[in-house]
């Protein structure tokens, strides 16, 4: 016979004002199996907990029901208290008298009766409780960072400096991301590459960091602390160990007219190339789609000139499987292309460019070496129109959100243009100026007041070409919607920040949630901003939502802190609320018949096959096994199983049945 104690809490006035706690306590005295029942003003307080512990000892209790607030609030508190008194913590259950009773009902006889009923249900459950023990899972103390932009680099450096191994996976041939393409950064106008490249080199040289550039995540198995990640190392077509990065192959490559991605199509590159001179690692790749050898079978100039014989035309992609403890996603964003704007000419005007193209035009390492020349004819543009919110906050473009960085970089662009072309005129069309950040508004004011950038509040309806000029037609809503027409030489669209191309696919590979726009979803928008719903996978930077550099870096360090916290322990402790497949003696071995319908139902891929073998190794029966490290205790498999071979520890069929049948 059970010896159960019931402890009813008044929660000050929260429960006490609506429920007659003394009466409830009295009623509970008579439930079979209950040997002790008391009420107290604050059960969670120190004297309250001490009272419980003394009662456990005095009455030799083997089960406890605390009738108080939500288990989400104080279950850990009471389980710890019970555990300290020598009873297994999972023999303690909470009846939620506050949220489920006193807060939602008026004071009445019936409310008190309901409180007593709630307790009665839990007493029946506790009678069927069994002692449970936390599950220990080992932790592999190696992190993987996916994406080598500024966020990814920061995460990698922070974790590496914390003393753990990091593998930094980047899909393009060099780390650096979008930040390496920028000319100057707001609000200080310091050179982007000057602050980023030292970080890139630091990451490359750090003894704890392994760079895997030109690589992509192919498959992720396992669970927090114990992931198995398969990475596809795309063939660079050269032996990285032999290559010294001398660049002779690039100089001699005859195929020089390929549109350069790093310069956003404003420049050209060769078929064997490094994205930019400061690339890390400084080892070229062969673009097999454009290389003459792969197209015609002849050329191999690079192979002939290479002083170390590093070129490997026959090299294939390589799949590498790694043991990883934590994954940080820092896969960044993409910009909406100018092609998406029919009203601005579908991208067919060469002089209508996007923000990133302007960055390359303004950059000292760009195709014009930082001299302002418009793409069509190389002339210095005398009038430039900047259009903020191009696509952003525009439902018709499918982007209702604010891209966050455009207000600031548009001000920066206008400034950079004015600094380079003193006589030039810069106009900015905007909806609102959103410059909330340290020194941000001051920066925009500086553009308007010191650099004489003309800000026009209104939208641009149309741009067309006439006599070599781009006619920008818009409205000035601060002048009562007056029509504005500007003859411009170049137009810069601050196009919307969007989730990266394969982000949804990646999210599905990793089983993390994502929003309508393909940005990865955080576990809680305020309190868990860098965690995902999947344990051991974290987020940093613009893969979660549009972010600027300071935010990306801050978030990166936050994610690194989470990873270091995870790695600070040798074993992870998990709640034993997991499903288990029934096992018993032969010849049945288990009620499970191995139909594996549960496997398709499990949202966490926690169900695997287990072969029951005879002594000679013959398989007698194949049944389901639930990996306790992966199981989240959702119970879907329990409901799917026709033979009731699966049960959820802590919420077993027997417990729930007893709860229902007592009502």
């Amino acid at each position: 016979m059970s010896r159960i104690g019931v402890f009813t809490c008044h929660c000050g006035e929260n429960i006490g004002a609506t429920v007659d706690c003394a009466k409830v306590s009295e009623m509970c005295q008579h439930i079979p199996g209950v040997v002790h029942s008391v009420d107290y003003k604050y059960m969670c307080s120190d004297p309250g907990q001490r009272m419980m512990q003394e009662a456990i000892k005095e009455h030799s209790l083997d089960g406890v029901v605390v009738a108080a607030c939500s288990p989400r609030m104080h279950e850990p508190t009471f389980r710890r208290a019970v555990s300290n008194a020598g009873v297994n913590p999972y023999m303690c259950e909470m009846a939620n008298l506050r949220e489920h009773c006193s807060w939602v009902h008026e004071k009445s006889e019936a409310t008190t009766q309901k409180a007593a009923d709630l307790i009665r249900v839990l007493v029946e459950k506790v009678k069927h409780n069994t002692p449970l023990f936390p599950i220990k899972v080992p932790v592999t103390k190696t992190a993987m960072v996916v994406g080598g932009g500024v966020a990814g680099i920061q995460v990698a450096l922070d974790i590496a400096n914390g003393g753990h191994k990091v593998i930094l996976v980047e899909k393009s041939p060099s780390i650096g991301g979008h930040m390496s393409q920028l000319s100057e950064t707001f609000p200080t106008l310091d050179c982007s590459q000057c602050i980023l490249t030292p970080r890139m080199v630091e990451a490359a040289q750090h003894p704890n960091i392994t760079l895997m550039t030109y690589s992509e995540v192919e498959k992720v198995d396992g669970f927090i602390g114990n992931f198995k990640v398969t990475v596809r190392k795309k063939a660079r077509k050269l032996d990285e160990k032999l290559c010294t990065g001398c660049g002779l192959c690039i100089q001699k490559c005859p195929n020089k007219k390929i549109s350069d991605e790093f310069n956003e199509g404003l420049g050209t590159r060769t078929a064997i190339y490094v994205p930019f001179p400061q690339a890390v690692p400084n080892k070229p790749v062969i673009d097999t789609l454009n290389c003459t050898f792969y197209k015609t079978g002849k050329c191999k100039v690079c192979e002939k000139v290479c002083p170390t014989n590093a070129i490997r035309f026959e090299q294939e992609d390589e799949l590498v499987t790694l043991d990883i403890g934590a994954i940080v996603l820092a896969t960044g964003f993409k910009l909406m292309k100018t092609e998406a704007f029919p009203e601005y000419g579908y991208g067919k005007h060469k002089d209508i460019i996007d923000g990133m193209q302007f960055e390359r035009l303004a950059s000292a390492s760009g195709p014009t070496a930082g001299v302002m020349k418009r793409p069509s004819d190389g002339k210095e543009p005398e009038t430039v129109v900047f259009i903020a919110c191009s696509g952003s906050r525009d439902r018709s473009k499918g982007v209702p959100y604010c891209s966050k960085v455009c207000c600031m970089y548009t001000a920066k662009h206008a400034m950079l243009y004015k600094h380079k072309v003193h006589s030039g005129k810069a106009y900015v069309f905007y909806m609102d100026i959103r410059a909330s950040g340290k020194d941000y508004d001051e920066f925009v004011r500086r553009a308007i007041e010191e650099d004489d950038v003309k800000y026009i509040r209104g939208r641009v309806s149309k741009i067309y070409e006439e006599d070599g000029k781009l006619i920008v037609k818009g409205a000035d809503t601060l002048m009562g919607g007056e029509q504005v027409e500007i003859k411009a030489d170049m137009v810069v669209l601050a196009t919307a920040v969007q989730s990266n191309d394969r982000s949804e696919e990646l999210a599905q590979t990793l089983h993390v949630s994502y929003d309508t726009y393909g940005f990865f979803a955080e576990a809680h928008p305020k309190l868990r901003p860098v965690e995902t719903n999947t344990g051991g996978i974290f987020l940093a930077g613009a893969c979660q939502a549009p972010r600027d550099i300071p935010e990306s870096v801050a978030q990166a360090s936050a994610a690194a802190a989470k990873v270091l916290g995870l790695f600070s322990q040798d074993q992870l402790t998990r709640e034993p609320i997991v499903a288990v497949v029934n096992r018993q003696a032969g010849p049945t071995f288990s009620y499970c018949v191995g139909c594996f319908l549960c496997q398709t139902a499990c949202p966490y891929q926690a169900i695997e096959q287990e072969h029951i073998t005879a002594r000679n190794g013959d398989v007698i029966k194949t049944i389901a096994r639930i990996n306790p490290g992966l199981c989240q205790g959702c119970g879907t498999c329990v409901a799917t199983c026709r033979t009731k071979a699966i049960d959820l520890q802590g919420f077993s069929n027997e417990q729930l049945y007893a709860e229902i049948m007592t009502l």
Binding site: V593, T643, K644, Y657, A658
Partner: protein
């Protein structure tokens, strides 16, 4: 018929299979299952319109599994049942040997893929009488339908013949045998009967191959097969897929597909 016997003998003589499972004439002329374990026993095989039983039911039994590979004289429903059993990993794909008789011709189907192909040529519509009955029931009001089933199920003696005859009820330990907790009362009273038949229908939704064996097995003549037929039809309507058409596991009720209809969430 001769072609079938010829094929069966061949298989047994070559040692391709350990037994041929088909039909023979039993007491009072009924057709009963017959295991021919040597060429001599093949002569007792018959195949006519009176042979209706779904023989796939036997293949998951321990006694039959111990025999080794068994060739089965397979009606279309038996073929569907076999595919579903392979999908649910109760039979191995290489353990399949079906003898499908089409006119005078005997076809040997020896893999899930072959059965799939063979079945794709067939349109095995539900018997007209069953279809008419389901339509009649659906035309009733809820109250009338409830009264109809109460009346029908009141005759159930819980002999579990419907369960035992069903090829998809292969569990070694049925929910009905589960007594901790005792989900369904053992006695054959109104509540116990209703719960049993509801649970059975739900367990077969998306898995029923519509052979109607349960209805034929019922000793008191309750049309229990209409319940599983209806569950299967509803699943097919909601999710656009039927059991017994592929050897790959594709269980409508445990998988999510973006194009699933959401009409049932109201």
């Amino acid at each position: 018929m001769e072609a079938l016997k010829q094929k069966a003998k061949e298989l047994l003589q070559n040692g391709d299979v350990k037994a041929v499972l088909g039909y023979a004439v039993g007491t009072a002329g009924v057709r009963r299952p017959h295991f021919a374990r040597n060429p001599k026993q093949v002569d007792a095989l018959v195949l006519d319109e009176k042979c209706t039983q779904n023989l796939a039911t036997y293949l998951t039994k321990h006694e039959v599994k111990h025999l080794g590979k068994v060739a089965v004289v397979a009606l279309p429903a038996t073929q569907r049942a076999l595919l579903q059993l392979v999908a649910e990993r109760q039979l191995r794909d290489d353990a399949i040997c079906l003898l499908a008789v089409d006119g005078g011709e005997v076809k040997t189907l020896s893999s899930g893929a072959e059965v799939e192909q063979h079945l794709a040529l067939k349109t095995d519509a539900m018997p007209a009488a069953d279809k008419a009955m389901i339509e009649k029931l659906m035309a009733m009001t809820r109250e009338q339908r409830w009264a109809y089933w109460q009346q029908e199920l009141s005759r159930c003696v819980k002999c579990y013949a419907c369960r035992n005859s069903c090829p998809m009820c292969y569990c070694e330990h049925c929910t009905m045998d589960c007594n901790r907790p005792q989900w369904v009362p053992v006695a054959s009273h109104a509540l116990g009967n209703l719960e049993y038949h509801m649970v059975r229908a739900m367990h077969l939704a998306g898995r029923c191959v519509e052979c109607g064996e349960c209805g034929r097995a019922c000793p008191v003549g309750i049309p229990v097969h209409l319940l599983t037929f209806f569950a299967e039809e509803s699943t097919a309507k909601q999710f656009g897929q039927r059991a017994g058409h592929t050897a790959k596991l594709d269980y409508a009720l445990s998988t999510f597909k973006p194009d699933d209809k959401e009409t049932f969430i109201r």
